[in-house]
């Protein structure tokens, strides 16, 4: 039969449980702002009596659990990957948006000035001033083409550097996750929940970088794979994503275990950067090159049929590269014409006052000579600007949507996992009262024991 000393044991178990409750509450409050921290709760259970007629043996703390919702965490990671994809895309696109500028202050103004110059030349074809102006405006146009091409190329280089940084970070994160997996596979010790918190943060960062898929192995570890199925982490092992510079521009390709995954990363910051570097920016470059090439070819065709101020047949007005690719960067006004505007073949016949070619070049303003007759030069430029603007808008809209989704999912997760200071304040009071009551019970038993001992002494 239980005695008073057993009652002391009950009081002691209650004091211990209340103290642990206070500790857990304190831990929760201390980590209220810690990223990835899932609130801890104390699971208590009654210590059952060993013999009939006993009240019981007090209370015991069965476990301290971290409250996580693996399903929501997985969805947050997936959406976070998409959000980072859009953010990376938008960062790059907003730079391109500033490069294309606003109507009247960009390439469209140079194209208009170019045609204006030939229009003025047609009105006064023998004027050296008009010829000089036509040459200078043409040079200004080629300079603008080259500057725009250089800015796009620079954006691709920036994206490539960002890709390299992201891959290095992804590899570091994969190593860290594998290391944490290893510790959790070996039991994790008393800080298993802390390790899981830490790993959750790392996994979210990995998802943000490459939109990875996380598979719970059931043994405490997780496997991490790319969307394509290529593994980055398997248990305690990490697989490095390798980079190799590829010709002609030295941009890196990405491989995992010798498998090229460059085109297979469709989410996360890395996915956005790759889309920007390998799809959108080259698309803009191709449109710009086509515009520069077709415009120059149309001008050259008319110029070659003309005659200069001395009645000699005209050659090419623009010096063009061998291929359309790179035309915007390489286009130049013929060095001979730039040095001597008399060589500008503005006439349709050897008569010096003939202005037929100048008129024909000025008339290109309204002629659909770009993309096989699909657009005028200005329309082609406006089309490029529209595409950039449309891509910016799509990325903005997609990012806003994903932000809302992530925010909503985080609210759902927080309902389950986040620390509520109000709740912890209530717990604090509850465990404090519990401790006080257990302490009072302990004192009562000690007093009772004193009474008993005094009875024995008499």
């Amino acid at each position: 039969m239980a005695g008073l000393f057993d009652s002391l044991s009950i009081a002691q178990s209650g004091l211990t449980a209340a103290r642990i409750g206070l500790d857990v509450t304190g831990q929760n409050i201390a980590n209220v702002n810690t990223p990835g921290y899932a609130r801890r709760v104390v699971s208590q259970a009654e210590r059952h009596p060993l013999e009939p007629g006993e009240a019981g043996r007090g209370v015991e703390v069965v476990e301290i659990r971290a409250l996580r919702d693996v399903y929501i965490e997985g969805r947050i990671a997936r959406e976070h990957g998409g959000e980072q994809y859009d953010a990376a895309l938008l960062d790059g696109l907003e730079t391109v948006e500033s490069i294309v500028g606003l109507p009247g202050s960009s390439l469209d103004a140079r194209i208009t000035a170019f045609f204006d110059a030939f229009s003025e030349l047609a009105s006064d074809v023998t004027s050296m001033t008009a010829r000089d102006t036509a040459v200078r405006e043409s040079q200004a146009l080629t300079t603008e083409f080259a500057a725009f091409a250089a800015r796009l190329a620079e954006q691709r280089r920036v994206a490539d550097h960002s890709i390299q940084d992201a891959v290095a970070e992804l590899n570091d994160l994969a190593q860290s996750v594998a290391r944490l997996n290893g510790r959790l596979l070996s039991g994790g010790g008393h800080d298993a929940e802390s390790l899981r918190d830490e790993r959750a943060v790392l996994l979210k960062r990995m998802a943000g970088l490459a939109g990875v898929t996380v598979v719970d192995r059931g043994d405490g570890a997780v496997d991490v794979t790319l969307g394509s199925g290529h593994a980055l982490v398997v248990g305690a092992n990490a697989y490095t994503m390798d980079m190799a510079a590829e010709p002609p521009n030295g941009f890196v390709s990405l491989t995992i275990a010798d498998h090229d995954v460059t085109g297979q990363i469709g989410s996360g910051r890395l996915g956005g950067l790759l889309r920007l570097r390998d799809d959108l920016l080259p698309g803009y470059e191709a449109r710009l090159d086509r515009l520069a090439w077709d415009l120059a070819a149309a001008v050259n065709a008319r110029h070659a049929a003309g005659f200069d101020l001395d009645g000699n047949p005209g050659g090419p007005f623009f010096t063009m590269p061998a291929t359309v690719e790179g035309a915007a960067a390489a286009l130049e006004v013929s060095a001979a014409i730039a040095a001597d505007p008399r060589l500008l073949a503005a006439a349709g016949s050897p008569a010096p006052g003939d202005n037929e070619v100048a008129r024909a070049i000025a008339a290109l303003r309204d002629e659909k000579v770009i993309n096989g007759g699909a657009a005028t030069a200005t329309q082609a430029w406006a089309g490029l600007v529209y595409h950039v603007g449309s891509d910016v808008r799509t990325a903005e809209s997609s990012r806003e949507t994903r932000e809302q989704i992530v925010r909503q999912l985080e609210r759902l997760r927080d309902q389950h996992s986040a620390v509520s200071l109000d709740e912890e304040a209530a717990n604090l009071m509850r465990y404090q009262r519990s401790y006080e009551a257990n302490a009072r019970f302990f004192t009562a038993i000690v007093d009772t024991l004193d009474i008993l001992m005094n009875m024995v002494r008499r």
Binding site: E97, L102, A122, A347, A351, A362, V385, G389, A425, A426
Partner: protein, 295 residues
């Protein structure tokens, strides 16, 4: 149900959204522009580029019209001058016709005709901004010159045309021979030389033939003046049409690019209120805690 209010996530997000709207309204008001980048309204930006290109083309045509108009006005003046001089030639020749005219009077009339010939020659060799008006496209040398005692047309039969509007051209130089000779066997200067000689010698048949040739030259000049007048009218019409088109294009461009300042000011006021409300909401929500009541 546990409700968690995260100041950073929920509160600041609302503040940031309101602040972004405020900044956008401010930017529109200060710049006067509705769009600050292609992403704001891609279609509007695309159309605005098109409108600006149209305005650029209209400006170019307008400039061409101004230059062409000035050149045609000069040509008109010159051709009218030639007409007047040909009339004077007729008067001088008429004064020398008949048996009663004394030799001195015939000599004076012949001299007057030669003087008028030189004046007409100067008219045909008129230059504008360094180019000859009546040499066709051979604008670098005088249309008519006496080469080895023979009057020679040094121009050609082409003309310099300029575009005064889409699909509308006018000639700003002229085929001088078409006016000075036309389908006649000899040019006006040879005719005037022969007429002066006939007047000097009292050759009645020569005077009659010369006067008839001058009459035909006068008619050709009048036709040229008529054609030129039509071109001048064409330029005026084009200029009027271009001005009207430019006003319309400017209106469309402004509606695409420019901010409605009243609307922007209203939006800014609304955004300012929303921004203050978001700040107040965060501040209020952050102050409330059960901890305050447990002391």
């Amino acid at each position: 149900m546990r409700i968690i209010y995260d100041v950073l996530r929920d509160g600041l997000s609302a503040v940031e959204t309101a602040h972004a709207q405020l900044a956008r309204a401010q930017q529109q008001l200060s710049s006067g522009k509705r769009v600050s980048g292609a992403g704001d309204d891609p279609l509007a930006v695309q159309n605005a580029i098109g409108e600006r290109a149209s305005i650029g083309a209209i400006d170019a045509y307008t400039k061409t019209n101004e230059a062409a108009s000035a050149q045609l006005a000069l040509a008109d003046h010159v051709l009218n001058g030639i007409s007047d001089k040909l009339t004077s030639v007729q008067v001088a020749a008429l004064s020398a016709r008949g048996d009663h005219v004394q030799d001195s009077a015939r000599s004076a009339a012949a001299e007057r005709i030669r003087s008028l010939r030189d004046a007409v020659l100067a008219d045909f060799n008129t230059r504008y901004r360094g180019t000859y008006l009546f040499g066709g496209t051979r604008v670098d040398q005088a249309p008519y010159a006496n080469v080895g005692g023979v009057w020679t047309y040094q121009g050609n039969s082409d003309v310099v045309r300029v575009d005064v509007d889409r699909g509308r051209q006018v000639s700003i130089t002229f085929d001088g021979r078409q006016i000075a000779q036309g389908s006649d066997p000899t040019d006006l200067f040879t005719v005037l030389d022969e007429l002066a000689a006939a007047v000097e010698t009292g050759d009645s048949d020569g005077i009659e033939a010369g006067m008839a040739a001058v009459e035909r030259a006068f008619a050709r000049t009048q036709r040229a003046i008529g054609a030129l007048g039509a071109d001048e009218q064409s330029i005026d019409e084009a200029t009027f049409r271009l001005a009207s088109m430019k006003r319309a294009a400017e209106t469309r461009r402004a509606s695409l690019e420019d901010a409605d300042l009243v609307e922007a000011a209203t939006r800014m006021s609304q955004a300012d209120t929303a921004y203050r409300a978001a700040l107040a909401a965060v501040s209020t929500a952050e102050r409330q805690s059960l901890l305050d009541y447990l002391r």
